[in-house]
Symmetry: C2
């Protein structure tokens, strides 16, 4: 069967390969992969700057944002052939930390987690994969091809859960959120903000392409200026770019008791001239919080499924600005300036047959 693989650490080593069928040891649920979403982490792995192959192997099967259909499931797994499913990305170490031991592998304290398609475990960008039943998430059939958004939505569901848990350190009635970056994570974060009844503002640098209208169609407000001018006195800032200057601006721009949630990662290395003492003073005198969040555990995947099921499916489909079949995977990796989410289709719908009269 075919898979998209890479030699981690070697730029330009990604290619389609014929590989063996997945070994039974990878999990008792056999899944036919329908689609795999592409994100910045995949691009970093392809560029050779991130990722690790399984122990003793040279190449890694890519892909962590999955969508598939069950081919075989063991008895008692509450799964049946034909079910639409997503595979969870992270796995705890066999000797788990305190968080992994209770299923919170997204909060892993010892760094010994593994991740399918990223770190020491083969990913989902293959025609068939095997998954352990406890790492399979079932989707309602009507989510259909939008189900490929479950994994990035799980990251956002975790971010919102953590914002709310941290917010409960005191009385808190947030009204507004500023999302920085209108990529897939930013737009999904905005969606979940709207679902919470908040006044949602989204900041990005583009003024053309689909992003401004996608924001407006959520009932949110689109901004293209400076962070501190987008929504003065905002209660929550959800930073989704990882760009140093924007992160620093976010930390300085909340109202008293504000929460800044960092979800973005950039490879930027530029040094900023920063007055950290003044930043500290405003964090202290205003009781502000800045926190980072990564990955997601099962409850976040389940929340993500619920959030997507409640959303307008036509709006969600518009987030997927490009779909390429497996053999043309490069088209999904090469992201255009107006792309939001790009997807590799492993099971594209059949081309319509020519009409016969």
């Amino acid at each position: 069967m075919r898979a998209l693989t890479v030699h981690p650490g070697v730029p330009g080593s990604a290619r389609i390969e014929e590989i063996a069928e997945p070994h039974a040891s990878a999990g008792s649920v056999l899944v036919k992969v329908l689609a795999v979403g592409v994100c910045g982490t995949d691009r970093e792995i392809i560029e050779g700057s991130y990722g690790a192959a399984p122990a003793g192997e040279e190449r890694l099967v890519l892909g962590h944002e999955s969508l598939g259909r069950v081919l075989e499931a063991p008895p008692g797994a509450e799964l049946a052939a034909g079910d639409l499913v997503v595979g969870i990305v992270r796995r705890p170490d066999p000797v788990p930390c305190a968080c992994c031991a209770v299923g919170e592998w997204d909060m892993c304290r010892n760094g010994r987690y593994t991740e399918r398609g990223i770190k020491a475990l083969h990913g989902y960008c293959a025609e068939r994969v095997r998954i352990e039943p406890e790492f399979v998430v079932s989707l309602p059939p009507h989510l259909d091809r939008i189900g490929v958004l479950v994994e990035p939505t799980s990251v956002v569901a975790k971010a919102w859960e953590q914002i709310e848990r941290i917010g409960r350190r005191a009385a808190w009635f947030p009204r507004s959120v500023l999302v920085i970056g209108a990529g897939p994570i930013g737009l999904l974060a905005a969606l979940l903000g709207v679902q919470r009844g908040l006044s949602v503002h989204v900041l990005d640098r583009v003024t053309s392409g689909p992003k401004p209208q996608l924001v407006r169609d959520l009932g949110a407000t689109y901004h293209a200026g400076a962070v501190n001018e987008a929504c003065p006195g905002v209660d929550i800032i959800l930073e989704c770019t990882g760009v140093g200057q924007l992160v620093f601006d976010a930390m300085r721009s909340t109202s008293p008791g504000g929460i800044v949630c960092l979800t973005g990662i950039s490879s930027g290395q530029r040094l900023l001239e920063a007055n950290i003492a003044a930043l500290n003073r405003s964090l202290v005198l205003e009781n502000d919080v800045v926190f980072g969040t990564v990955n997601a555990n099962r409850r976040h995947y389940e929340e993500a499924v619920g959030a997507l099921a409640r959303a307008d499916s036509a709006w969600l489909e518009r987030l997927i600005t490009r779909r390429a079949p497996l053999e043309r995977w490069r088209e999904a990796i090469d992201r255009g300036p107006e792309d939001v989410k790009t997807v590799i289709d492993l099971s594209p719908p059949p081309s319509p047959a020519p009409l016969s009269r």
Copy 2:
């Protein structure tokens, strides 16, 4: 009666004045002030860089770390003449924000709070003061002169409560804390860390004077080197200096899932060359939290009283490295390099009478 007053904004304007007895409108509990602790905020006010007099007045009575004895209390106030008490510092605005409305004025969201001795309300450094019963905290008599440490301990009790509430965003079993700065706040934070059963490390730059031994006598470890070398992999960092470089080092030095609590304020304005993108990356990939905390509400004062009552009173008394009577207030303001807490005594114990044979 005598009081220590200042013209906010005017450096060098502090002096002892004769002022009128406190007006009944200030509160129904009349208190004879025994002592007032001095902190960095008092020094900033005396230097003319902070503070505000009550509306329509020019001068502000200083003092927010109080200790007194009730002279008169209204019926039903659960207070009686002779009770040892401390006055709470902050008051909510008559039109309270959502936090102030539930008694969490320390988390005030609209900035319209007032503070005795700091912002728009006369402080406690006068021979007699009046306080509203709901802002009076009773102390067990055996706390005696150590009671002047209740206010700074309330700040630390709030910091620990917030650390623990934020920590509960996920499974969390912290084992170690690094306190940066061995001033009064740092040493009291270390005490409350020891009371929680944590492995406590304290970092300061001095290697002489009472601080290293005060730390060791708590059962904690004293360090005088770099932040990232003091306690690698520490779960919690409690920053008590506000110095930009130390704040930045703290943000970069926790273990995965770590919490950095900022409590210190400095007037430093030096710009640092900071790689904010790299800081962001580590906050995100490790699920780290950085938060600021200021002030305290009633429950924190009550926790502070309990923490001081459980501690070794001889160790606490050693934190007070200088006591000066009101007329020599400058001796308490001028902090020496080895001072921890300095106190203005408004009711010093009488000098021993000469022994007669």
